[in-house]
Amino acid sequence: MDAVLFLIFAAIAVVCAVNLVVQTHPIASALSLIGVMGSLAGIYLQLGGEFIAAAQLVVYAGAIMVLFVFVIMLLNEGKERKAKRRLWVTFAGLPLLLVFVALIHNLILHVLPPSDSVQFGAFTGGTAGAIGMKLFTAYLLPFEVTSVLILIAIVGAIVLARKEVD
């Protein structure tokens, strides 16, 4: 039952990711990315990361992707034109990618020490309380630094995107 659930979410994630790369219209790519994020949130729930799953939905799928969708709708450029690629690039691209995936898959199988299989509900340290405790005690400095980073990003985005007052 666990394996079936994982396979469903993984299949949705891979199909949406392939769709992201293959679609010509940016809006279709954006919606596929939202699909990937949703299925990843389901997978995080399986791995015991409930807070991260909720954060994925709230932050990534609910805010960052909304920003992407807005920008695409505002710019309204339409479909992408076909690229003029050299012949060897078209034929060598996909096999090289597969070689990359196979190499790392091999590493995962043979270099990683054996671990037990994932049971749903076996890891209970991912609740909001546990993460909050750690975030505000052991990782307090990175937390404060990232809030300054967000402030810088806000100021930067506003300065870059505002209308010039002549």
Partner: protein, 110 residues
């Protein structure tokens, strides 16, 4: 790895999660290298970041600690900041060049 998945194992092997992470990362790299629209390239970067998040959470399960969750949270925060500034830059590039293709924004080349 026990394959095909027809054995009645009580859980899911951890390597499956890591393989999914690699596949998503590779698809992100493919999108980054093969697409011409700046926004699609940016979205492929976000896909790569998501794949790495999945790796973090999977390893955090393996080690039974929640430090991986916290790293993942920080990755999300940095991705948010990067998306905001990156899209503002894209808007400025569009305002100045009227194009969204990365091949055409090449005035520093040659």
């Amino acid at each position: 790895m026990p394959f095909p998945p027809f054995q009645m194992i009580a859980g899911v092997p951890l390597t499956w999660y890591l393989t999914l992470s690699v596949v998503l990362f590779a698809l992100g790299v493919a999108g980054f290298l093969f697409r011409r629209n700046i926004i699609t390239v940016f979205m492929s970067i976000e896909l790569m970041l998501n794949a790495v998040n999945l790796s973090f959470i999977a390893f955090s399960y393996k080690l039974k600690q929640n430090d991986g969750h916290i790293f993942s949270f920080f990755v999300m925060v940095v991705a948010a900041a990067e998306a905001a500034v990156g899209l503002a830059i894209i808007l400025t590039v569009f305002k100045n060049r009227q194009t969204l293709e990365i091949d055409e924004v090449s005035s520093l080349k040659d």
